[in-house]
């Protein structure tokens, strides 16, 4: 395989990794606040649908992108109500959120299948796109990809250098200590769930605004679950999330191109690659070590009263 085929594969890698990157960071934020939310798939599809809907009616993709995030966050608050107010089981509540989100988006969205709406298209980023090879891979993308380049840095800065970020992390590590320090861990977790949901919704919006300019039911096709897996792979760190998302995007881009050049392997086996790879990658990274653990209070509800 020559450079002329490798560059497009890498460029496609960035693009198919982007929705997963948004969602992975979203789930990571929620988990850092101590809440496990398996409803990523549901919030993504919710975001994908509302992004399309808003863009279809207003013709403004940026507005659509933002609305999708805000609405998906609101939808995710169902998880907060169940787990933070009513002490429901986080695993099952997240699953329910996914089932509900997929059903709801399908139910509301049937009428919009088969039409297209305005969205984002790739453009050459000034100056940087002229860099040989790297420019072609990273800087001939759409605006939402460029936004996603910044996200891991913003995420890191927020969690490690701002008061709110540190407080959010404390709610996930040790809610009792957090409470003792005069903070309200429950409120922090509400925020973690909401803004995590916003990011998941943005990931979904990428699919219906930039990846394609179309909407269909089930268009997230399991990407939300991949995001949940990648949070573990990334050891809850944003930089590694970026690496994981692109690794995954890469394998998806690669298997299609393997078919295109005329590989005679059955397509079912090639389609298995991304899922098998997830397990293998997690195996190599799941050795427990310092700084690789989940937030200590992840998945544990804060009981009311005390």
């Amino acid at each position: 395989m020559g450079l002329e085929l490798i560059i497009p594969i890498l460029a496609a890698t960035i693009q198919s990794g982007t929705p997963i990157l948004y969602a992975t960071l979203g789930e990571m934020l929620t988990e850092r606040s101590g809440v496990l939310n398996l409803g990523v798939e549901g919030m993504m599809i919710f975001g994908a649908f509302f992004a399309f809907l808003v863009s279809y009616y207003t013709g403004n993709p940026w507005l659509a992108f933002i609305c999708a995030g805000l609405l998906a966050g609101l939808f995710g608050l169902a998880h907060a109500v169940v787990c933070l107010v009513f002490q429901g089981n986080q695993v099952v509540s997240g699953l329910a959120l996914t089932i509900l989100g997929v059903g709801l988006a399908d139910f509301l969205g049937t009428a919009y299948v088969g039409v297209s709406a305005p969205g984002f298209s790739p453009f050459d980023f000034p100056v940087l796109s002229a860099i040989p090879v790297l420019g072609e891979i990273f800087f001939k993308q759409d605006a939402l990809v460029y936004v996603s380049f910044l996200l891991p840095f913003l995420f890191w800065f927020f969690m490690n250098r701002t008061r709110w970020g540190l407080a959010l992390g404390a709610a996930g590590e040790n809610p009792a200590a957090c409470f003792a320090a005069g903070l309200n861990p429950v409120k922090l977790r509400w925020a973690g769930i909401y803004f995590g949901g916003v990011l998941c919704g943005l990931g979904g919006a990428y699919l219906s605004l930039a990846y394609t300019h179309l909407w269909t039911n089930n268009m997230t096709a399991g990407r939300g679950w991949i995001a949940v897996a990648l949070v573990i792979f990334a050891f809850w760190r944003p930089g590694r999330a970026m690496f994981g998302a692109y690794l995954f995007g890469g394998i998806m881009a690669f298997q299609m191109r393997l078919q295109a050049v005329g590989a005679t392997l059955p397509s079912s086996l090639l389609l298995m690659l991304p899922y098998a790879l997830t397990i293998i990658v997690l195996l190599f990274s799941s050795a427990r070590g310092k700084g690789r653990q989940a937030p200590a209070a992840l998945g544990v509800n804060i009981e009311p009263g005390e």
Binding site: L95, L100, G103, P266, S268, M272, I279
Partner: protein, 353 residues
Amino acid sequence: MLGFTIEKRQEPLKWGSFFIFLGALVFSLGVSALLLAIQGKPPLEAMYLLWDGAFAHDWALEDTVLKAIPIFLCSLGVAVCFRMQIWNIGAEGQYALGAIGATWVVLSMPDAPVWVLMPLMFLAAATLGALWAIIPALLREKMGLNEIISTLMFNYIGILFLEFLVYGSWKDPASFGFPMTIMFPDTAIIGELFGRIHWGILVCAGAATALTVFLKHTRLGFEIMVSGENPRAARYARMPYSALVVLVMGICGALAGWAGLIETSATLNRLQPTIVVGYGFTAIVVAWLARLRITSIAGYSILLAGLRVGVENLQLELQVPASFTGIMQGLILLSVLAGQFFNWYSFQRSKRG
């Protein structure tokens, strides 16, 4: 808080889960009805049609029970895992592997007499199903790999493996190239018992009984129950925690595998990729609604099977999309989860208020 405080009950509310379910059901039906009304469909008539198509006639009840059988088996297994706080969401893939195992036996010895073929089919389905669950269990215990993720990925891989076989070497040469195996011989088909209900329902009853006895009256069963409530205590008591994890996952895989076997043999009479329709996920909803109790699982399996069947009636008469099932399932589960709070907590008028 508005003059109320939350207090923890000493004992869970008596009959609590029943009232909670009723409340949750009313709430979810209400929200669903609202959604229908928004789309201009008559909500009350819709609820009637749902009922009518799922439970109101002999044939409807038969359809519902038939649909409940695979859901019930998957859910039994899922419930055992959940009891130990092992979040196995891979029943879907284990179901697919069970179907593969049974079909493999049929294809390799189609002429065997029924008393050889049937037991081997059950054995193969249970083995492959269990294998598909035990691998994630081992990965969890030996390598620390989160079982939610591994079982989920195993779903995708298992289903694609089924497709690989049925689109490839297992394809019936007489099927005009369509992805399906040969029709099973009569010896490999689970026959009808009464009406259209096949004797797979006896397998359900047998499995449920065996599982109840195992959990309540054996030492291992006791250890599983204890480990679920307190893994750390279980380890202190020198219970073989890892072995128990492998065991419950194996049980779940085997049961889900049988569900796959029964669906393939009794209702399709051949293996097709279309047997994979989400029973494994419905099973999770059922297990949780039933609060992991075996007797309740039967009731909720029938209820959720009825929901799936009833929605078809709704489609025919009112053109409500098929996705309505998902909305109702999600809503019921969320509201039951929230409602279970009242089982343990109560709102009291605050004294300072």
